[in-house]
Amino acid sequence: MKRYSGFSLFANALSYHEKWQKVWRKPIPKKEYDVIVVGGGGHGLATAYYLAKVHGITNVAVIEKGYLGGGNTARNTTIIRSNYLWDEAAQLYELSLKLWEGLSQELNYNVMFSQRGVLNLGHTLQDMRDIERRVNANRLNGIDGEVVSPKRIKEIAPLINTSPNSRYPILGASWQPRGGTARHDAVAWGYARGADALGVDMIQQTEVTGIRRKNGAVIGVDTTQGFIGARKVACVTAGNSGVVAAMAGLRLPVESRPLQALVSEPVKPCLDTVVMSNAVHGYVSQSDKGDLVIGAGVDSYNGYGQRGSFHVIEHTVQAICELFPAFSRVQMNRQWGGVVDTCPDACPIISKTSVEGLYFNCGWGTGGFKATPGSGFVFADTVANDRPHPLAKAFTVDRFNSGALIDEHGAAGVAH
């Protein structure tokens, strides 16, 4: 892999950019792989990368039905934070955040991870209790965070409306300075390029249509390009996890729902942080290009259409105009949807299955982008060693039978 740098850019400019190396090859699938990763989203690509990088397993293929990073990785609002309530979740997301902090250098690909901080607003007394609880838990878990006052919020985000007379006035917020955003596409591309350089095959425009088993163990996958053998199959297919699990006769406690987002037209910098409000339902940050990136709520019904209902957008935009009355005259440029796989407790599943050699990593729902590096790291370890990584232990499917849910839903606001 030829490294990227200011110098390489300069050198290539001299040759009119005609000599750049390909970011990844376009290989013909081999007959058999040690590991097939199904799903070329951020999580799948990270899994492949760490399998090769950390575990030396390089005979790996990532099979993606569309284009790399085209699923939820392409459609999320890119909010990154680790201030989750429960120990198990917090540790997983914090591992991820630590990996983010060195990711551009690790991959030699600038993923533009921007630690501009994340505010989670509280609008009711109970919101504030929950925020206190979460921030205290974070702090004792070694995760940065503080509870901030409306005055401080106003300093961080001057256009925000902290008037005590608004319908749901802002009473305070949690503030995680290390949180922020990243350039989502670059994450997928960076991992893909890194994995490719280590020998992983990226097989795009190829859909897995079946998971073949023999004597209770996986032997490969059927695809739109034919059968491809594998000793292990690791499924990381987000919104389509239920469909893929069914191919192996498995059921998962996930439901696939539309989650929407929208961007405004680009405007000059006016918001230097990430602002999230569960109570009024709106999430907003400003991209480096200038557009306001806004996350909406998840639709109540199941759907695979990568689109949702307009009233959800309306509600979100109302919330944004409530929080930022000055944004009322800004215009929506584009809106879209993704299909998120939500677990009843809003926490992921990182698990072996009853089929030998078959693994699932899913259920990240509305908030898995931030987990991309950590998820890949932990899942690669789980697949390589055929046992849950210590941080993945709590995230097996068994919890839905035992009742050991990690209820980020019930406890504190989670989303994105």
Binding site: M128, V135, L159, R167, K268, P325, Q335, G403, G410
Partner: protein
């Protein structure tokens, strides 16, 4: 003021109505009927903006929503609007516009220097640089962001209002060009409810700029006639300045109507914009087509324009945007522009046609006018910097991929280009219909309909006017018929249009240069985002092959024009680089908004105090008058505390708490959810829903219950009273009321329809005043003389009907304070009267109104939980020490029961509700504090649980807290710590969760 490019034929502008405006601080004059674009062109303004990445000077290229360059900031102050397109801003007196980029000005932009280094900034350069040293990224980013964005957001709240209309119609026609007009006319004639919307100020579409006669009359006369026919039909709603920006499932479409933007930045009256939410039975899309620009070197210099736009400025606005025209084309259609220019009296230097030989009627007409036509030639490069000075032309090979001969320069100041037309398939694509590439028309066509819609006219790839008129008419009548109106036959005779024969156009998406794209001067594809042909080819070189990757890598089509001009060329260039067809390459996905849509309009009136309903109790005004401070509980406003003059919250709450324990307090409890339950199986049903049993509850009695979700976790709690056999009244928490009712209905209607029981919400019916404290009975006695209030006749957990303050009342002896309590319910219309009478009757006992905060303290003193505060969706009744509420002997497996037996729920170190008593009595632990055994252990600390409720108890004169602690019940007397952010910690002893009157004697009196 002289407008140097204003023609003597004014088109649809009015020479008698001059309008003054400023652009970048300089005053100009235009005419009524102008857009800002036509007025700027009339005044010879060349540079209207600077490009996003390279800060290159840019001029106006289009005349509609496709415009990529003319992006401006309108006005200033709170009503300023960022990012409008000059082509879509109608001129009004005093209009004040500024370019969004360019410093110190668009004409002299120092950022333009960056453009000189453009070669160092190919697509993706960000990903390859700024990585080292790691800690500098935020600094780099700071500077990157400085260059970000187009216009500026206002910094104050929006002075305007917006509104929404829910519309229903049989046929919605989108676009009022010729095809849309005939569709609306035919659909209207059937009597169907029709809406026709067009984003422009007037109906007529492209005909507004056409010189072609229809039915022996001018096209403008035909429009006027047709529009008046439509106007005469009351069943047709006409919406102009109305953009259909989204097409959603089940024929739901959204329209943004700009009501007042053409009058000024502020609405003089009423809503500035209106969002129509339309549910249409049938839809006719007649949205027209976009002309494709030709891509050649330096095609971004001001003075390179769309051919159809040049015609539009001449014919519709009476503006000639230059002097000497070179027309570059791949098709016959564009020759009309040469004719229009010629007729305007200005010079046509040449027509440069990439096709080797053409001789259609339009071509002949042009030749007959004496205009030079260069056949088999292309404009390979524009010359100039802030205005075109010339065009480099060269002969091309037959398929237009190579320059085959010497390059010459034509002197000109305007290059009009046409690469054919692209159907505006946007809205049909919103529905998920995949556009289909058609080589015959060199355009995508709408895909197979996924909804009740059809496309007609140019957006259907039918570029011929006569055909479009017919298609529109047929579609209008067909759509109406499918919606239940008319017989599907066209009613009006078709207008006669003289169709000129056209020769085949050439499919050409990149005019070759003598140098390869990578080395030629930039050949721009997406002008707004500075994406060039070389950029697209570079993406392919680097392995980005999917059209979606190329979009994301180069930002092609990401702009505020969403690639209306550039996308097809870009995809074709990509296809070429990949050696595959356009059909194989496909398009990126079209999504709403068709054109950018104001947030305020999407929000509508549901902002400010109307953001969410505020629900008030019957006593609300009294509380207000007493100066209560309110708390949001769900949608309700509840008094939080009632400060006397000068009192702090703390003082007020202490006083309120003391009053309850020592004499009497009064609480507005009207917000608690109340559900009336009737039916032979009511008791059985309730018993299945609550953890405990109601089968034996006698009339006149109440029982406290806890409701679980099927996962065993506490969901709601409250008291349920037996009113009579088969009749119960259930209380829920304030926030849980609606959820509980839906929950009961769910089980009854879907799981146990055989159980005969009906539920009715009576929350609003009752106003509830709770009087509590040792003097409650004394006060009660003063206002009620038909209920025996003695303890043995009306005991704790009993209820009685009677007359209170002269009102029919239902009185419950239930208590959330642990004191003697009467909860008095009357029909809500008498709520305030009851309240005032109770206040009067209690005056001698100093009756004290108290709010939710005192209520919380008082119940915490008693160890009563609040669902949602002490529980969080992961708590079972056992966790809350409420095993007593679980009916062990119930035969039916009540909802949630089985889950309590799961291994995790049986774990013995689950968190359990306990009390915490701080070692320092005055130290109040913050609610939400985490609990550890050793505050000095290293991070991460092993957390034992957290504090759910915490107060200073004035009655006990020390602080109290409720907490959930791992294995807490076995740890009584242990000292634990709550570490604070500043490193300090509060030590507390684990105690029983009941702090006050542990035997519960006070409520039993």
């Amino acid at each position: 003021m002289k407008q140097k490019n204003r023609l003597v034929v004014f088109g649809r502008t009015d020479p008698n109505q001059p309008i003054n405006f400023t652009f970048n601080g300089k005053p100009y004059q235009g005419l009524l009927g102008d857009t800002l674009a036509s007025a700027l062109l009339a005044n010879g303004v060349n540079v209207v903006g600077r490009s996003f990445k390279y800060a290159r000077p840019r001029g106006i290229v289009g005349h509609g929503p496709e415009e990529p360059n003319g992006i401006i900031q309108l006005g200033s102050g709170s009503a300023t609007v960022p990012n409008l397109k000059v082509t879509q801003v109608e001129l009004y007196e005093g209009l004040d516009a500024k370019s969004v980029n360019g410093w110190p000005s668009v004409n002299i932009d120092v950022m333009g220097l960056v453009g000189a280094f453009g070669r160092l900034m190919p697509p993706g350069f960000y990903y390859k640089t700024f990585m080292y040293p790691k800690k500098l990224w935020m600094t780099y980013e700071h500077f990157i962001r400085k260059a970000a964005g187009l216009g500026k957001t206002p910094t104050e709240a929006d002075p305007d209002t917006y509104e929404k209309l829910n519309q229903h119609c049989d046929v919605l026609v989108v676009g009022a060009g010729p095809a849309g007009l005939t569709a609306a006319l035919e659909a209207g004639l059937t009597g169907a409810r029709v809406i026709i919307a067009d984003e422009q100020s007037e109906f007529g579409g492209s005909l507004l700029a056409s010189t072609q006669p229809i039915d022996d009359q001018s096209s403008t006369d035909w429009i006027a006639q047709t529009v008046s026919a439509i106007t005469a039909m009351p069943n047709v709603q006409r919406l102009s300045r109305s953009t259909v920006f989204g097409y959603y499932d089940h024929n739901f479409l959204t329209i943004l109507e700009k009501r007042t933007d053409h009058l000024g930045i502020n609405s003089p009256q009423g809503a500035r914009q209106r969002l129509h939410r339309v549910r249409a039975k049938q839809v006719v899309l007649a949205t027209g087509a976009f002309e494709r620009p030709l891509v050649f070197a330096h095609n971004d210099i001001p003075g390179v324009m769309q051919a159809s736009s040049v015609s539009t400025y001449v014919n519709r606005y009476g503006v000639a945007p230059g002097e000497k025209l070179v027309l570059a084309t791949t098709n016959d259609n564009a020759y009309q522009t040469a004719i229009d220019w010629y007729n305007s009296g200005r010079v046509v230097v040449a027509v440069v046609d990439t096709r080797q030989a053409t001789n259609g009627p339009l071509v002949s007409h042009v030749k007959d006018l004496g205009i030079e036509v260069l056949q088999g030639y292309g404009v390979i490069q524009a010359m100039g910097s802030k205005r075109v000075r010339g065009a480099l032309v060269a002969p091309l090979n037959e398929n237009g991929t190579k320059v085959t001969g010497p390059v010459e320069q034509l002197k000109c100041d305007l290059i009009a280009t046409s690469g054919g037309w692209s159907a505006a398939v946007h809205l049909s694509s919103h529905t998920g219909a995949k556009p289909i590439w058609d080589d015959a028309i060199v355009s995508f066509r709408p895909g197979i309909s996924k909804q009740q819609e059809r496309s007609v006219g140019a957006c259907n790839g039918t570029f011929d006017l006569a055909q479009g008129l017919l298609e529109g008419a047929l579609a209008g009548s067909e759509a109406a018929q499918l919606a239940g109106f008319g017989d599907g036959q066209v009613k009006r005779g078709m207008p006669i249009v003289n169709t000129l024969e056209e020769q085949a156009q050439q499919a050409l998406f990149l005019i070759p240069h003598t140098l390869p794209s990578s080395r030629a001067p930039s050949q721009f594809v997406d002008l707004q985002l500075d994406v060039s042909a070389a950029g697209i080819e570079l993406a392919v070189t680097e392995g980005f092959e999917s059209v979606e990757h190329v979009k994301r890598y180069t930002a092609l089509g990401f702009g505020t024009d969403q690639g209306k001009l550039g996308n097809i060329n870009g995809m074709a260039i990509l296809a070429n680089a990949l050696g595959q067809s356009i059909a194989e390459t496909g398009t990126t996905i079209f999504r709403p908004s068709y054109t950018p849509t104001t947030f305020g309009a999407i929000a509508g009136r549901d902002i400010g105090e109307l953001f969410d309903p505020e629900r008030y109790t019957a006593m609300h005004r009294w509380h207000e008058q007493q100066g209560a401070v309110f708390e949001d509980v769900g949608q309700w406003k509840r008094p939080w505390f009632f400060p006397n003059q000068q009192e702090t919250m703390h003082q007020a709450v202490n006083r309120e708490c003391m009053a309850v324990r020592n004499s009497i307090g009064i609480l507005d409890a009207s917000t608690l959810g109340k559900i009336d339950i009737q039916g032979p199986d009511a008791a059985e049903f309730i018993t299945r829903m609550y953890t405990n049993s109601y089968l034996t509850l006698a009339p006149g009695k109440c029982r406290y219950g806890v409701m679980l979700k099927e996962d065993g976790m506490i969901f709601d709690d409250g008291v349920c009273a037996c009113i009579s056999d088969n009749h119960y009244l259930m209380f829920t928490t304030t926030g849980g009321a609606a959820g509980v009712l839906a929950w009961l209905e769910l089980w009854q209607q879907t799981e146990w329809p055989e159980l005969q029981v009906y539920f009715t919400s009576v929350t609003d019916h009752w106003a509830t005043a709770t009087i509590t404290g040792p003097n409650a009975r004394n006060v009660m006695a003063k206002v009620c003389d038909d209920i025996d209030l003695s303890a043995d006749k009306f005991g704790f957990m009993d209820w009685r009907d009677g007359t209170v303050a002269g009102l029919a009342a239902r009185v419950f002896r239930i208590s959330f304070t642990g004191e003697l309590t009467y909860e008095i319910n009357v029909a809500a219309n008498y709520g305030r009267y009851l309240w005032e009478r109770l206040m009067a009757a209690g005056a001698e006992f100093d009756i004290t109104p108290y709010g939710t905060e005192a209520m919380h303290v008082l119940r915490a003193e008693k160890g009563f939980i609040i669902v949602g505060q002490d529980t969080d969706g992961s708590m079972t009744p056992t966790d809350m020490n409420m095993d007593w509420v679980i009916g062990k002997k119930k035969t039916f497996s009540f909802v949630g029961k089985r889950s309590l037996e799961r291994s995790d729920c049986l774990r013995d170190n689950r968190k359990r509700l306990v009390g915490l008593k701080t070692l320092v009595p005055t130290a109040v632990i913050p609610e939400g504090a985490q609990i550890v055994n050793d505050p000095h252990q290293p991070l991460p600390m092993a957390m034992q649980g957290h504090v759910t409720s915490s107060y200073f108890s004035a009655n006990l004169d020390h602080s109290i807290a409720l907490a959930v602690v791992k294995g807490g019940l076995n740890r009584m007397g242990e000292i634990v710590y709550c570490p604070a952010a500043d490193g300090s910690s509060i030590a507390a002893e684990i105690v029983n969760s009941v702090f006050y009157d542990p035997k519960g004697e006070r409520q039993h009196v």
